[in-house]
């Protein structure tokens, strides 16, 4: 074999290997996805949305408590985390810019985005659950807020920086004060991007389980009082899936399916926003 033939042979071998690994990787992921869809759809029925949790063996058991709990937990986190994140991101992009302080905040936020979420749970346990003496919905929401904050902050920062500086200058040239330039011009220019950041941030915390295990804990019944322990889809999934009861396990799959679809849809909408923006 000449050297070139050898190179071509190795090339073909590597290309086959890489295609195979892509197939294997995609195969596993498709497997997980199909398991999720098949088990989820099979377990879905109207009762799931109408009924609260029930002891195993009771055919009327549903996920209403977890769905509503999830809404409360993620809703409260969004309500607190989004304005704070946008404000902080605004500071970085519009005021701090390349200052040492801004760069440090950016670096720390980047790290926080990948930090283990269970540690956030431990932190909130120490500052909220322990002093209060019991688990609570608020504790869970606070944990989720802490996880969401750096995501919103960094996307807001990035998206605001993409707004052309000529737009700001044009507004300043009309004599507008800085806060008006930011709130009326810059925000408008970065609307789609910030919204994408919010959607991705919500999607990210909606799938969190670990930081809720010992903050909001769980409740098998409907509770809308955030001072008390509160059910979430994720912790319910964990508890039901590890239970020995088949009907609970089925409900766990239903929860997994509902939650994953919700998260996927948020991700897809977020991407579409960005695409639409790029298209213009």
């Amino acid at each position: 074999m000449t050297h070139t033939q050898k190179r071509v042979f190795i090339n073909n071998a590597v290309m086959v290997l890489s295609t195979l690994s892509a197939l294997v990787g995609m195969g596993f992921l498709l497997w997980i996805l199909s398991v999720l869809v098949i088990n989820g759809v099979e377990a879905l029925n109207l009762n799931i949305f109408l009924n609260e949790g029930a002891p195993s063996g009771n055919p009327d058991g549903g996920l209403k408590h977890a769905l509503i709990g999830q809404l409360y937990l993620v809703g409260a986190a969004t309500f607190i985390g989004v304005p704070l994140g946008i404000l902080a991101g605004t500071y970085l992009s519009e005021y701090g810019q390349k200052s040492k302080l801004s760069e440090t905040i950016r670096d720390i936020s980047d790290i926080m985005m990948s930090a283990p979420s269970i540690v956030i749970g431990a932190f909130v346990y120490a500052i909220v659950v322990h002093p209060m003496g019991h688990f609570s919905g608020w504790a869970g929401s606070i944990a989720l807020t802490i996880i969401m904050l750096p995501i919103i902050l960094r996307t807001t920062d990035d998206m605001l920086q993409l707004v052309p500086s000529t737009l700001r200058e044009a507004a300043f040239a009309l004599g507008a004060p800085k806060y008006k330039v930011i709130t009326q011009v810059v925000y408008r220019g970065a609307k789609a991007g910030i919204l994408t950041g919010v959607l991705l941030g919500v999607a990210r915390v909606a799938g969190e389980t670990a930081p809720l295990l010992f903050t909001s804990f769980n409740d098998n019944f409907l509770n809308t009082d955030m001072i008390k322990p509160m059910a979430s889809l994720t912790v319910t999934m964990y508890n039901y899936a590890t239970s020995p009861y088949e009907d609970w396990q089925r409900l766990g799959w239903a929860a997994a399916f509902i939650l994953s679809m919700f998260i996927l849809i948020l991700n897809i909408i977020g991407r579409l926003f960005l695409l639409k923006k790029k298209g213009r």
């Binding site: 290309m15 892509a22 995609m26 997980i32 999720l36 283990p116 806060y179 709130t183 996927l264 991700n267």
Partner: protein
């Protein structure tokens, strides 16, 4: 009036931004404070001790540390080559029609909550591992494998992104000298994107080591160091997930906080290395 509003807006936003730093500092100090009892009482025995027996107030974290290291190691060993293969496929090989759909679905799979990967692992993967490797299926090996599948989409996507930063003109120059696709990938694309690729692997490692739900289902939380990978084991996050709600004594709590602190410090370090050493935001050309 405008002046006042301006000042108010800038100061409030600055305050919120700084509070992010304070929050991180607060997390660290809180964990340190709550770990003090265990640090004082156990010292280095905490890290070096291999007996974890809350009933007799023995807290040696070595089995959990060992489990974290080994399960993450298994995950990386399996995921790295596949991720490189997928990235090569996506950036250099796939027909244009496949590139975007396959690429986007991989990114979307990275968004699926890890608890779903854990559930899948428990119901579908554990029996397979049991049949092939023996044991009960709940094991270090299973945990490493499920973890590898969970980090694969993230790793493949960022590796592809890093490879895609190679300018076309540089690749064309190598093709123009008679290079094959593989020549171009190994001599041009990988060296060019090296920092980005290594950075993303380390970042994935940092995430994997703190991952809780994908492994909690399939690891077993057994505090015992075993070189038999088919035996149940534990890791730091698995211990936390399983025991935080059960801790009943001060020292038990404190040692769990020390575990959290250890985990946070380790992942902070790993992620910082990835971010600051390999993935500087803008590379200077």
């Amino acid at each position: 009036m405008n002046n006042l509003a301006d000042k108010l807006f800038s100061n409030i936003s600055k305050l919120v931004a700084i509070s992010v730093l304070l929050l991180v500092a607060w997390i660290f100090t809180t964990l340190v404070q709550n770990s003090m009892e265990s640090i004082k009482a156990l010292g280095f025995d905490f890290i070096l001790g291999n007996k974890w027996a809350p009933n007799i107030e023995k807290f040696g974290a070595l089995p959990a540390i060992y489990g974290s290291v080994i399960s993450t190691f298994i995950a990386m060993m399996l995921a790295v080559p596949v991720a490189i293969g997928v990235a090569i496929f996506l950036s250099e090989l796939a027909p244009a029609k496949l590139k975007t759909p396959v690429g986007v679905s991989i990114e979307l799979l990275a968004a699926i909550p890890s608890v779903v990967y854990g559930m899948w692992g428990l119901f579908y993967f554990v029996p397979i591992v049991r049949d092939i490797f023996g044991g009960v299926g709940i094991s270090m090996l299973t945990a490493g494998m499920v973890l590898s599948i969970m980090i694969l989409p993230f790793m493949a996507a960022v590796t592809r992104d890093a490879m895609n930063t190679t300018p076309d003109i540089l690749k064309e120059s190598a093709y123009a000298l008679g290079g094959t696709k593989w020549d171009v990938i190994k001599d041009i694309v990988i060296p060019y994107a090296k920092a980005g690729i290594i950075g993303s692997f380390i970042l994935a490692l940092g995430r994997a080591i703190g991952e809780t739900m994908a492994v909690t289902f399939v690891m077993g939380n057994v505090h015992k160091i075993s070189f038999d990978l088919t035996k149940a084991a534990t890791s730091i996050p698995v211990t936390l997930a399983n025991e935080f709600n059960e801790a009943d004594s001060g020292i038990y709590y404190s040692s769990l906080f020390e575990l959290s602190l250890l985990l946070l410090v380790v992942s902070f370090t790993i992620i910082s290395i990835a971010k600051f050493y390999f993935l500087r935001r803008k590379r200077i050309a």
